[in-house]
């Protein structure tokens, strides 16, 4: 069976408890073990660092879905002052899988559009695990056009397994609602920054990923299909999931090399959930720098560069094929 948590995560916790016990014991017995304890702690950190530097793509997938991983709402609360959430698509309803609103980032008004997964079972269910319905995408489209009207830059935060797979979603036009957002974003006359904070799942994630600059947190992933589904389609078995996670080239590092991601935002050792503030500060630095650059670019140039970037994605040959 595939594990949701890392074994070594638990092992570290156990080791840490042992060290604590040792500390306590040394106090109780009035026996100085400080040197040994320090050595042990250093050793443990070293193992941890080297492990996290070499995570496999599948381990990164797991980390990107870690139950403790910060959700977009936490980043929004940290990054923006006076954030006001806006609801509804004005057509059918409000989708809780998408947070949309306006807030102030270091004095600059930003529109924020984000997938909200929620934490804990109740919250997750309420937010549909971050899987938007067409209402969510239409809310996004509505606020994108509003951003354009008020010349307000857009920040997209991506964290979703994908668009919601359901009867209602299909009845209300899941496909066209996503397509319309893709088209709207391709030519939106304001700077757009997208950041993958956790899981970027397929078309449902891509709807927030058409932008001037796409960044990914170091342990986030972005994929055309989940590794599990890919393994089950190609091999009819899920044993190959880890292999497929590697083959799909879905990690931030892979996508930076492929030129899909424009940059990687560092995370603390062990993942964003171990030091939320440090992660959020790294995100803030990224937004600050890029917002500054993008807002000074002439709008025509910005749109041309965005278009050219999207238009040039793809590799093929044009010679007469051998087969």
């Amino acid at each position: 069976m595939l594990k949701k948590y890392f074994d070594y995560e638990n092992n570290y916790e156990k080791l840490q408890d042992k060290i604590k016990e040792l500390k306590k014991l040394s106090e109780q017995l009035d026996y100085n073990l400080d040197g040994e304890i320090e050595k042990l702690e250093r050793q443990m950190e070293n193992i941890r660092h080297s492990k996290y530097r070499n995570l496999s793509p599948w381990e990164k997938v797991l980390l990107s879905r870690h139950p403790e991983r910060p959700v977009v709402r936490e980043y929004i609360d940290f990054l923006l002052d006076d954030f006001i959430e806006f609801h509804g698509d004005r057509l059918y309803g409000d989708d809780k899988a998408v947070i949309a609103g306006v807030g102030s980032f270091e004095g600059h008004a930003l529109t924020v559009l984000a997938h909200q997964k929620g934490k804990g079972t109740n919250e997750k269910i309420a937010h549909h695990f971050g899987m938007p319905h067409p209402e969510g995408y239409r809310k996004v489209e509505r606020l994108l056009l509003q951003s354009e009207k008020f010349k307000r830059p857009v920040l997209n935060l991506i964290d979703t397994p994908g668009a919601f797979p359901g009867v209602g979603a299909e009845e209300r036009g899941q496909a066209s609602s996503i397509a319309r957002v893709l088209m709207t974003l391709s030519d939106l006359k304001v700077p757009v920054i997208s950041i993958v904070t956790g899981e970027g799942g397929s078309g449902g994630a891509l709807a927030l990923g058409v932008c001037d600059r796409l960044f990914m947190l170091a342990n986030s992933v972005f994929s055309v299909i989940s590794a599990e589904a890919c393994a089950s389609i190609i091999f009819k078995e899920t044993e190959k999931t880890q292999e497929m996670a590697a083959a799909l080239k879905l990690t931030a590092q892979d996508l930076f090399e492929l030129g899909i991601a424009d940059g990687i935002i560092p995370e603390p050792v062990g993942g964003a959930h171990l030091d939320f503030d440090a992660t959020a500060l790294n995100i803030a630095e990224c937004i600050r720098k890029n917002l500054q650059e993008l807002t000074t670019v002439d709008m025509n140039r910005l749109l041309t560069e965005r278009y050219n970037k999207i238009r040039s994605i793809g590799q093929y040959t044009e010679s007469i094929s051998n087969f």
């Binding site: 319309r180 893709l182 391709s186 899909i260």
Partner: protein, 285 residues
């Protein structure tokens, strides 16, 4: 032991479209595999691949569609030498491409060209699901974009006939980004004031339905085609939901306001001709 890791439920009963084996419809076939009735109108069965008794629309290859819709000898293929490469070194992709080319006789899942339809000049792109389920990788994305760009250059309408299971996973994120790429080009296309008609055939799902297939001025669906974003099997499995009858077929689409009209194959050319006439050749700008 890995049989049921994903909690797969039993597969749901499939619509006739998937039950019928397209290869079953050979020239000598005496009965329609869907309605099991004797076919009466031999001619219509062969030329349009529609059962005269139950009106079931059998899969049609891209070339058959081109022959069926365009004025004789008017089709000039564009970008015909574009072929896929294994960008990510994805295991088994090279073999799959070879097998698909061999079995379908095509170089990729789409054929594009300049064509006359009822005397009107158009750019016509036709997908073929016999090439890797019509999945969209770099080549399909690029050919759709080039088709739209050619139509803009010549100031003539664009017609795309879709048949696709979605993005081609063997090209990873690069295939997903083709959704963004085709949508971006179509934004420019619409700004240029030209007409774009998409014709949805069985199946049109995933990344193709959530990009260029849904972005047309006029969306026409073939009867009984499966059209949607998430496939019915995945919805049934993930949600444990029983699917309503006729879910995601063209008629469902029409009822829920997702398509402009349903056109039977026999009337499609006439309808296109009427639209092209009403839209003044599709280049009224």
């Amino acid at each position: 032991m890995f049989e049921n890791v994903l909690g797969k439920k039993k597969y749901i009963p499939l619509t006739p479209s998937s039950k019928a084996d397209p290869s079953a419809l050979s020239g000598n076939q005496k009965t329609c595999p869907v309605c099991i009735r004797l076919k009466s109108g031999q001619q219509s069965f062969a030329a349009e691949r529609v059962c005269p008794a139950c009106k079931y629309h059998f899969p049609m290859s891209a070339w058959e569609r081109i022959d069926h819709l365009t004025d004789p000898q008017s089709f000039e293929e564009l970008d015909k030498d574009l072929v896929s490469i294994n960008i990510l070194d994805f295991p088994g992709y090279d073999e799959k491409l070879k097998a698909a080319a061999k079995n379908s006789g095509l170089k990729e899942a789409i054929i594009c060209g300049k064509a006359m339809i009822g005397g009107y000049q158009t750019i016509l792109a036709v997908m073929d699901s016999s090439f890797m389920m019509g999945s969209m990788g770099s080549v399909v994305g690029e050919k759709v974009c080039r088709a739209a760009e050619k139509a803009m250059e010549l100031r003539i309408p664009l017609i795309i006939i879709t048949a696709s299971g979605g993005a081609r996973m063997q090209e990873g994120m690069i295939s997903l980004m083709q959704m963004a790429k085709t949508s971006a080009v179509l934004k420019k296309f619409h700004q240029s004031g030209l007409l774009y008609i998409s014709i949805l055939t069985n199946p049109t799902t995933g990344g193709v339905s959530a990009s260029f297939a849904s972005l047309a001025d006029i969306i026409i669906a073939e009867p009984g085609a499966l059209v949607g974003f998430t496939g019915p099997r995945v919805i049934a499995q993930t949600m444990g939901q029983k699917l309503p009858a006729g879910f995601q077929c063209s008629e469902f689409l029409l009822e829920h306001g997702q398509a402009d009209l349903i056109a039977e194959r026999s009337e499609l050319k006439h309808i296109l001709q009427c639209i092209l006439k009403l839209y003044q050749g599709g280049s009224h700008a």
